[in-house]
Symmetry: C2
Subunit: 342 residues, 2 copies
């Protein structure tokens, strides 16, 4: 059915080997035959079977991508960056979504390992030991996580957290809450660390409000702790959580930003669409995706790989409309509420 290298060879009056060479190593074959072969191949619409090629070269031309949840708007942006860069280098991308199930990750790596040249693990939730095991199955690059010597592209969380704290401290906030994400999330730990350091440096108090699902609903749940904590500003694990919190605050009649300031992280599209627009820490998502491919191709020794890429990407605070100067301490709007609820 499909046109094979033999069909081309026969039509061009040469052997299959010559066709193969004409197409992949053009300079070692005679110009006139090369021309003829290419013309015939083009005319017949010949496209090499990548599986067959992969069988002998050991390269599939495929890359695997594993991530927790495509429905979280943070990830599609990364996927887009990855795809862009991968297609440029003529790789195809397998995408697999684990539905936030950490136990599914390793299984996916195993089943994917044979079919791909390398795997990108995006915000993996698995344990470090599993991560090491995963890396033994096939070349692996991490995004949003670091582990030992496995190549990784991460964000400069320390600097990002400093920017957020400095912004809030500059507005007069002295008691700042942090709504943490899942315990299994490396970013949670990393951001917490950055926040503690930055809070200490700015001489503000950091209140850790507990762990919540990295979703809108998780953010809504976190409102209780926020009120109890008696803080004037809250930093959310990500924008989705921030939006949930915003919504719950509104339901309780608490105004943002005059009574409480809220800061998100990620800068998902949505964060600019709501009202009031969310102040958030921009994460270069597409850039991270592209960089991870660069890193992987580099690891594979592919000549199409870019130059040694930056592995720690800068972030940038986008001040929009959910942050404002801290309310005067005497009114203490959330403190009153807290007392009544306890």
């Amino acid at each position: 059915m499909a046109v094979t290298i033999r069909d081309v060879a026969k039509a061009a009056g040469v052997s299959p080997s010559t066709v193969s060479r004409a197409l992949s190593l053009p300079d070692i074959v005679d110009p006139t035959t090369r021309e003829r072969v290419m013309k015939v191949a083009d005319h017949l619409g010949y496209r090499p079977n990548r599986a067959a090629r992969g069988l002998i070269t050991g390269r599939t031309g495929n890359i695997g991508l594993i991530l927790p949840d495509l429905a979280n708007p943070f990830f599609p942006s990364i996927v887009k960056g990855i795809q862009q860069q991968a297609h440029i280098a003529d790789y195809q991308v397998f995408v697999a979504d684990t539905d936030e199930d950490p136990t599914a990750e390793l299984g996916l790596v195993r089943s994917l390992a044979k079919q791909v040249d390398g795997i990108i693990l995006c915000s993996p939730r698995m344990k470090p030991s599993e991560l090491r095991e995963a890396a033994t199955y096939c070349p692996v690059v991490l995004v949003n996580r670091k582990a030992g010597s496995i190549p990784a592209v991460a964000m400069d969380n320390a600097d990002g957290m400093r920017q957020v704290i400095d912004h809030l401290a500059g507005l007069g906030h002295r008691r700042i809450g942090f709504v943490a994400g899942p315990r299994s999330s490396w970013s949670t730990k990393e951001r917490l660390r950055g926040l503690r350091a930055a809070a200490a440096a700015a001489a503000v108090e950091l209140v850790e409000l507990g762990h919540f699902a990295p979703t809108f609903d998780g953010g809504m749940e976190s409102v209780e702790g926020t009120l109890i904590g008696g803080v004037t500003a809250v930093i959310a694990y990500n924008d989705l959580v921030a939006l949930g919190l915003l919504s719950a605050l509104r339901d309780r009649g608490i105004d943002v930003p005059s009574q409480v300031s809220v800061v998100g992280i990620d800068n998902i599209q949505l964060s600019a669409m709501v009202h009031p627009a969310l102040t958030t820490l921009d994460i270069p998502k597409e850039k991270a995706g592209r960089t991870s491919i660069d890193l992987l191709l580099h690891l594979l020794g592919d000549p199409a790989a870019g130059t040694g890429p930056a592995r720690e990407l800068p972030t940038e605070l986008l001040v929009r409309h959910t942050t404002a100067p801290a309310p005067t301490t005497t009114s203490e709007p959330s403190g009153r509420r807290r007392a009544s609820r306890l």
Copy 2:
């Protein structure tokens, strides 16, 4: 490096053929040898090379998925449904994003065709003739589009539009606007047709407000036409457009829903998160994804395919807080505005 069928054969003291049979046709091999082979295979961690298998069976176990824009929250939901169902049937999914470029679609089909057993084209923007051409390269299933005899899963747009119109008509709206999506979008035409029929049946006037990009920004741009049109309710091409429109209306101090009602389509997650929550037509996105896989596997004659699946999926209007009774005709808030702008 990797463990092959020959390694297993040697370790089990049988020939490769027997190993192959033991694993794929268990009942034609002696139970004791089968046991032994399976144990050895398991112990060695043997996993058949799918590329090699595909070479001889002609099946890759891969499915291609082409869609316009992963950043549009409508699509990730579909992708999730597709992946779920595909993984159950032991297929892997290649995802490719065209960045809303209709000319890129056919090229992607061509380059993917050889590596997959079938392709799912999600909301394709290409012309019918190109669609027919695409279907000649490999088995194709359409989502959100119909074209000739190509298998497709679509939404019951006619009924959905009827629900929307009936809802608005019931609230007393007599002049209703529609913000259309891209001209190349099949859904736009389909919805327009459904709206015209429903509007005629309900004896309300339908005002077509022109074509806009299917994005938040597109929605913002559409606000001009909305005001000029002198309508009391607007139906947007999708939720993203509706949200953009909502935002622009707010910027101009026009209250929703008391002055203008707005209805979206898709029910993306986000639509429930904003304030006021968007009234929208729910589209069963994950279900559509799963159905498209059923359809494709059926087409491929795969026994894992579900029963002959429904191809036209029902929609459901979710009444939230952006629709309300039409303002009394005497005030005509947008009419005044219109006059001043013209």
